[in-house]
Symmetry: C2
Subunit: 411 residues, 2 copies
Amino acid sequence: MISEGGAATALDRASRAAAADAADPLAAHRERFVPAPGVVAYLDGNSLGRPLRATVERMAGFAERDWGGRLIRGWGEGWMTEPVELGDRIGRVVLGAAAGQTVVADSTSVLLYKLMRAGLDLQPGRSGVVVDPADFPTDRFIAAGVAAETGRRVVPLADGVDAAERVRQTAGAGTALVVISHVDYRTARMADLAALAAAAHDAGALLLVDLSHSAGVAPIDLDASGVDLAVGCTYKYLNGGPGSPAFAYVRRELQDGLTQPIPGWMGAADVFAMADRHEPAPGIRRLLSGTPPIVAMQPVRDMLDLVEEAGLDAVREKSVALTDAVLDYADAVLAPYGVRTGTPRAAGERGSHVTLEHPAFERIVPELWERGVVPDFRAPDGLRVGLSPLSTSFTELHAGLEAIRDALDTA
Amino acid sequence: MISEGGAATALDRASRAAAADAADPLAAHRERFVPAPGVVAYLDGNSLGRPLRATVERMAGFAERDWGGRLIRGWGEGWMTEPVELGDRIGRVVLGAAAGQTVVADSTSVLLYKLMRAGLDLQPGRSGVVVDPADFPTDRFIAAGVAAETGRRVVPLADGVDAAERVRQTAGAGTALVVISHVDYRTARMADLAALAAAAHDAGALLLVDLSHSAGVAPIDLDASGVDLAVGCTYKYLNGGPGSPAFAYVRRELQDGLTQPIPGWMGAADVFAMADRHEPAPGIRRLLSGTPPIVAMQPVRDMLDLVEEAGLDAVREKSVALTDAVLDYADAVLAPYGVRTGTPRAAGERGSHVTLEHPAFERIVPELWERGVVPDFRAPDGLRVGLSPLSTSFTELHAGLEAIRDALDTA
C-alpha cells in the first residue's frame, strides 16, 4: 500500500459513500434490477445495462400472451407500428425529439450505414465525410466504406478539445456530412450538440451524431440543437439487453426527400401492396427494411418507464456525482500508483463513465472480474468505470474502486 | 350449403382427420407449444410460428440468469460466438450445410442486401441480376436498389413452371446473379435447388436463394445442391418470434474473397483491436456488422431442439400429409364454391402452405379471425393455409377448413 495512514481516509471515503446513498433520491430504484450473484460492483452499465426485474416478467409474458396468445394477429394490434411508437417514446423521454422523427430498428451499425448513405444523397455536390479518427470503430469503418462506395472521401476531424471548434477547423465548402459521437467512448468527453450543429451547418454540412454513450443518461435536446441525423444503441443506458435494436432520428424537414439503401417491405408506403416498385413510406418509417425485431424491442420499455419515473435530470445529477466520486478517488488514491485519466474534470464536459489509464490494467481487469468487480478494458491501457445511475450505488462504486486500488497494490 | 347429403361426408372427413391425428407420430409434440386461448385453428405458422412452452421459460431465464447474472461477462462466455454457433446449428439441423458457412444476424432484408452486394462484387464483368417478378417484395425491391446503385440491371425471370428451366431461359453470359425463393410465398411452388444451381452455374452466374418459406419444414441440402448464397428468416417454421433475426449462408469457397457493404466492428478480424481500418474476420463472421441480437436469438433454439428430436424427414412427411388434406378438401368441398388454387398437386413440388383463391376471401379472412380461425390473406384474392407440422393437428386443420366453407356458405 502506497500511502501509510490511509486507513482512516479509507473509512472516511466509505462513510461518505454510505452517506451519499442515504441522501440519494434514486437509491430505491436500484432494487428494481435483477440481482447478480457474486457481483460486488458492476461498473460496466455503459456497455451492457442490467435487466430490470420487470423485464424478466415482461419477456415471459410477451412470449406467452402476446406472441403465443395473439399470434399473427399481434401485427395488426400494435407490432406493426411499434418501431415508430417506441421511437417516439425514446424521442420524448430521452432525446428531446418530437414525435415522428425516431424509429427503432436494426443495429447501430446498420442504421449508421443507412443514415450516412441517406445524408450523402442529400448532399450531391459535396464530397467530404468528416470523421473523428478517435471515434468508435464501427462509426469510422462504416464511414470509410460508405465514402469509398459513393465516391466520397473521408476527412479526419482536426485534433483538439472542443468538438465544435474541431468541426469548424475541418469542415468547409466541400463537406457533405460530419459524423461524430456525442460522448467519446474512451475519454467520455461530451460535445455540445447545438454548437456542433451550428459548426456543421455553417459549412453547409449535415450533422450525424452517435448517441450510444449518452442516450438515457444525459439530457439530449435533438430538436432544439438542430441535429440533422442521429443513431444510438439501446443496450447501454437504456437496458435493452445484449444486442437490442438501435434507434435512428431524422429531423422532420429532411424526411420527405430521404432515401435509404435497403428498401425492404416494412419501409414501403403500403406494406401489403406487394407492389412492383418500392414506394417509400411517408416519414421516418421509410428507414425500416425487414420485419421489425419485436421480441428484442420489449426490454427497453421497462427502462424507459423507470427513466421517466426518476426523471432524466435526476439521473444526470446522480451520474455527475458518481463520475465526480471516481475522479476524486483517482486523484486522491490512485494517482500515486501512476493512474491517469483523460476524462474531463468539468462535469458539463463529460458523459457517464471515467476512463482510468495504467499499464497494469490489461492484466488487472480479468482479475477484478474474478472477484466480482466488473469494469471493462479498452486497449491499450484503459479501465472504463461506467456509471449507470439507476442501478449503481455509491457504496458499490466505492467497493469497486477499492478493489482496483487493492489490485494495483499487488501489481 | 352447396352440396346436399354432405353431412355424412363431413363426418367422414372429421373421422379421417381424427384418425390421422391418432396415427401421427408427431402428434404429441403439439402439446409443447403455448396454448392460444380462443384459437380454433392456427393456419398461419408460415408467417409466424407459435412459441414453445420452453421458450417462455427460456426468455425469463435468459433475462434473469444470463443477462442479469453474467452481465457483460456473457460476451466472453458464449454470446460473441453465438451468431456463428447458432448458424452452424441451423446449418446442420435444417439447411444441410457444414459448419462455418451460416451466420445469424440482422433481418432477411438486410442480409439479402449484404449478399446481393457481395455476390455482385464477385462478378465484376457481369451486369444482369435475374429476379422473379413474382417474388416476395423485399427480394425484388432490394435487387432493384442494389442493381441501381451498382450500375447493374434487373432482368426479369422468364415465365414458366419449372424454376430451373426458367433460369436457363433467362440467364446468359451477362448474368451476374440469380435471386430466387426456394418456395414461392403465394403458390407454395418449391424449386429444385440442385437444378437451380446447375442452371445458374451453366450461365456463369451465382445463385442466391431465399429460404424463408422452407427452412425448418422441408429438407434442404445446400452443400450438396451447390447453392452459392442463401438467406432465410427464423420466425416462420423456426418459431423465433416476431421479427427474430435472419440467417445467411455463403458457400465456403466464396468466403475468402467476400466483401460486404456494412463493415461494423463485430465483423472485424479482431473485434476489440479498435483498429484504424476494418480488417474482415476470416470466414462467415465477416457478414456481421453491429452487436449481434443475442436476446432475439434465444427462442429459435427451442424449435431447433424440437425439429432435431422429431426429425426433419418426419416433419416433411406430415407437412405433405397436411397440404394433401387441404388440396383434397379444396377439390371435394370448396371447388363448387368457385375456390381455385395454384399450389402444385405434386407433393414434391410444393412447400408447406396452400393458397386458396376466391374473390370473397378478402372479406372472409377478418371474419374467420374473429372466430378464432387464423389463416392469412394475400392480395388480391389469396387465403393462405400455412401448415406448421409440429404445432398443427389434422383435426385443427379440418376445423379451419370447415370454417372457411361455412364462411363461403354465407358469403
